[in-house]
Symmetry: C2
Subunit: 114 residues, 2 copies
DNA sequence: TGCATATATAAGCATATTCTTATAAGATTA
DNA sequence: TAATCTTATAAGAATATGCTTATATATGCA
């Protein structure tokens, strides 16, 4: 809800990152949860390198943070960022993605990473 | 401020359109004003075909509407659209673009289209 | 009707993007 | 240390994007 304004070039770059269905879904999933790479692979039905490359772009732009826990690397939204208010606002306008995580949990594929 | 949710694929497509500095500036200019093509050409310092092609994309996606007045075609934001709330919210996070129009007006180049 | 003005469209090219496959790197466990 | 698991990176190919130049279309006016 904060009204922070960012440079138009930076805003365009962030929006371009969000302007990809895969990345927007990733960010949508991270709105309510931390996720590890293998979960994205499972939910989005894409190859692990493809997911990793999307995550790298999001990380390079400061939209997400990573944290290793044993074998797994968990990603979460970076809320200490000048563009977080914009990202957060965008997320208000897309459908909740948590059901996808729940479906994953039901199928038993989430447990392995925890 | 409305909380309308759009399909994630449609949202991604809209964000991709906004994820270009030229188009984001165009939309930013239209937030407070109608503009004709030649004004965009002048402000953005780009060729007329390049501007026209950006406007076509924005129009095809329903983000803007056009209206011919004599020689000129004026563009304005399409606020009767399911994605307008998203677009509008994004605009809250970028700097005001109207100063660019004012500068154009001062240089006397805006008058010709009115 | 003929010409000028503003805008749109088409084709082509350079660059960017997003996958794929192959491989490397970091962490855990036997 | 060796084997295994998870993730990252690199290289290459297919496709998408955004410009340029050339041309078409629509309107207004002499």
């Amino acid at each position: 809800m904060e009204k922070t304004t960012v440079d138009i070039e930076r805003a365009a770059n962030v929006l371009k990152l969000l302007g990809d269905k895969t990345r927007l879904t990733i960010i949508g999933l991270l709105k309510a949860n931390e996720c590890c790479v293998c979960e994205f692979v499972e939910i989005l039905q894409m190859s692990q390198p493809a997911i990793s490359q999307h995550l790298r772009k999001l990380r390079d732009a400061g939209l997400v943070k990573e944290e290793r826990r044993g074998h797994w690397i968990f990603y979460k939204l970076n809320d200490t960022n000048d563009i977080y208010p914009l990202v957060s606002e965008v997320l208000e306008h897309i459908p909740d993605q948590t059901e996808k995580l729940e479906a994953l949990e039901k199928s038993g594929k989430r447990i392995q990473c925890n």
